[in-house]
């Protein structure tokens, strides 16, 4: 009974980590925090996978590790998690590398500010009207109020 409760708590923890990660990704406005949220979500899903192959009281799935004939946990999810961790670390390292470049170019990691400057630079490059607001609908609303445009060369500290 205690065994079961322990596993249930772990399941709740895994799903909780996933939800925290998802919420962080949606709610954070800093690219690096979004990455950290992603790391948390990945930890959650890895835990979930390990739990999928878990058996109470079993040993690690290595021949000769436990007593002969003892139950072992399922090795397949463990292999999958190992792969997922490696891939995750690689992707996160790549993300940090690109973020360093973004920070060097713009001096900020704030998503809203980067988005505004992105829209302006792309609009300038493509030769189209810069968007009045990244939140509002684009295109010609004849009576729309003119929103204040952000200053260009200025970076937020």
């Amino acid at each position: 009974m205690i065994e079961l409760d322990f596993v249930t708590i772990l399941y709740c923890g895994a799903i909780g980590l996933l939800l925290i990660g998802a919420a962080g990704l949606v709610m954070c406005n800093n690219l690096f925090r979004m990455l950290l949220a992603l790391v948390i979500a990945e930890a959650g899903v890895n835990l979930l996978l390990i739990l999928a192959g878990y058996r109470g009281g079993a040993t690690a799935p290595i021949l000769g590790f436990g007593p002969a004939g003892a139950p072992m946990v399922d090795p397949v999810p463990q292999v999958l998690v190992l792969t997922a961790i490696v891939i995750g670390v690689g992707v996160q390292a790549l993300a940090v590398a690109v973020m360093v470049r973004v920070y060097r170019a713009y001096g900020t990691l704030d998503v809203r500010e980067l988005k505004t400057r992105f829209e302006f630079e792309v609009a300038a490059e493509q030769g189209i009207e810069p968007p009045g607001s990244t939140e509002g609908p684009a295109g010609g609303r004849p009576l729309s109020p003119v929103p204040p445009r952000p200053q260009h060369g200025e970076a937020r500290p």
Binding site: P77, Q92, Q126
Partner: protein
């Protein structure tokens, strides 16, 4: 027959050897990529035209499924696997400007090969574990490719695309974890055997929803496609074309395999139908609103993928036929449009008078646009009529809503494509630079294919019907992987 793994292994090997090779000899390194892809294409073509074309499986490393990993080779898999080297070559950077920057050139070629290898693997794979790994590999290669220009906006687009895509992978992996917890296997055929007993409940459906949204990031599915306009506005048009045309279709293929083999006769198709309907509405309205050419065709590709999802959600061989037709048609058209966009970037207004400086390219655009809208003799018409007829046959409220949505967006599509066509043919004092001869040549090649398809629609349709019938046969899929299917059906499931 086991040389079917070579189209995956060879590009992978070449990708990793590209850097040292470029140090030894720049010329050899530049030739290596196309040669490897060509070799893979020839191998796959041999399999396609082999006299006995029954589906077969290859157990990698000689380990039997379900623990071993299998490649499942049927006509559907081969069709998409062949498209990979073909379109990678189509979008290969043939420009001769690599002389001064050998290392950068080798890096780019290595990424393209990595993308081709993982995409081929994705098409052939018959195991969720492998599908996940190849999908991630494809994602990493595409991150490198979309940041290729190295400008500030390109970096921003890359990092946002990366975060969204990685979150999609987390969702897909969660779905896979639920599937494993329910069934204790990751082999698609075995999942198909166990599905009727274990995956009918809400947990099974939740797993499908998670995987649909997770893999849907690459397939430009509705809630997770915010990366599309950013990436297509900043990445080189070649890469955008590759992502919109080829890579999205492979992500769709994964979902379709899951739907057909594991989730037949469940609510999964309805879910896909709803998301597909939202996707076309979002994509086409955004395309209508777009003010620059790359983003216009980027949004329109979201819309087209919505139709692909709707088509595949129609049950039975009819849905597969319709989905296959729409997907392949879009693959052709979008590839050609993006190769025109290579030089025709920038606002729609700036391209006014483009027909004067580049009459062939403008004519091609009109042909492609007509087929995309679905004007009768062109193949686009037949693909759309297949989808509409399938939806009408089903006849439920959701299906009829989707039907209405498709008709509505067709009108929108016609509006913005014709608007751009008239802009091209308008008089202008400063007509834009003509697209490069190579780009126009590539687009013309596809234009010729479209015309040939128009004339040969019957045999092509019969062949596709054949492919669809084989792919829709779930029992056939299972018995190909397990010739003695019943013996292994109940592998013990841990609680």
């Amino acid at each position: 027959m086991s040389n079917v793994i070579l189209p995956v292994v060879l590009p992978l090997l070449a990708a990793f050897l590209m850097q040292p090779l470029a140090r030894l000899s720049a010329g050899v390194a530049r030739l290596a990529g196309p040669l490897v892809l060509l070799a893979g294409l020839v191998l796959l073509l041999q399999l396609w035209f082999a006299p006995q074309s029954a589906p077969f499986t290859v157990a990698l490393g000689g380990f039997a499924p379900p623990l071993g990993i299998v490649f499942h080779v049927d006509q559907l898999a081969l069709l998409f696997a062949m498209a990979v080297p073909l379109f990678t070559l189509f979008f290969w950077d043939w420009s001769a400007s690599g002389g001064d920057d050998t290392q950068g050139r080798a890096r780019q070629d290595a990424l393209m090969l990595l993308l081709a290898a993982s995409a081929t693997g994705l098409a052939l794979s018959g195991d969720l574990f492998n599908i996940y790994v190849f999908y991630e590999l494809m994602a990493v290669a595409s991150f490198g490719l979309v940041s290729l220009r190295g400008t500030g906006p390109a970096q921003i687009a890359t990092v946002r695309y990366l975060l969204l895509s990685a979150f999609g992978s987390v969702l897909a992996l969660t779905g896979i974890a639920i599937l494993y917890a329910q069934t204790g296997t990751l082999n698609l055929a075995q999942l198909g055997q166990l599905a009727p007993a274990t995956l009918q409940g809400p947990a099974g459906l939740a797993a499908f929803a998670l995987m649909l949204v997770g893999f849907g990031v690459k397939a430009e599915l509705f809630p997770v496609n915010t990366w599309v306009p950013e990436v297509y506005a900043t990445a080189p048009a070649r890469i955008a074309g590759l992502l919109a045309g080829l890579i999205s279709k492979l992500a769709v293929l994964v979902v379709v395999r899951l739907l057909v083999v594991v989730y037949q006769d469940t609510g999964a198709a309805q879910l896909m139908l709803v998301l597909g309907t939202l996707t076309i509405l979002f994509g086409e309205f955004a395309a209508w609103r777009a003010r620059d050419f790359p983003r216009m065709i980027g949004f329109s590709s979201i819309g087209q993928l919505g139709i692909v999802f709707i088509a595949f959600s129609i049950p039975g061989p009819w849905g597969l036929l319709a989905g296959l037709a729409v997907a392949l048609h879009h693959l052709l058209i979008k590839s050609a449009l993006f190769s025109l966009a290579n030089r025709w970037s920038g606002s729609l207004e700036r391209l006014a008078g483009g027909a004067r400086s580049a009459p062939v390219a403008a004519g091609l655009f009109v042909l492609l646009a007509l087929s995309l809208i679905g004007v009768p003799p062109l193949p686009g018409f037949w693909t759309k009529i297949l989808v509409l007829a399938g939806l009408a046959q089903e006849g439920s409220g959701l299906h009829l809503t989707a039907l209405g949505a498709i008709l509505l967006v067709t009108a929108i599509e016609a509006n913005y494509l014709f608007r751009f066509a008239t802009t091209l043919y308008r008089k202008s004092d400063s007509p834009p630079a003509a697209p490069g001869r190579r780009d126009v040549g590539a687009a013309a090649l596809i234009g010729v294919v479209i015309v040939v398809l128009t004339l040969q629609i019957d045999p092509v349709g019969d062949k596709l019907r054949d492919v669809a019938r084989e792919a829709a046969d779930r029992d056939g899929y299972i018995s190909t992987v397990y010739p003695s299917a019943q013996a292994r059906a109940g592998r013990e499931v841990s609680g």
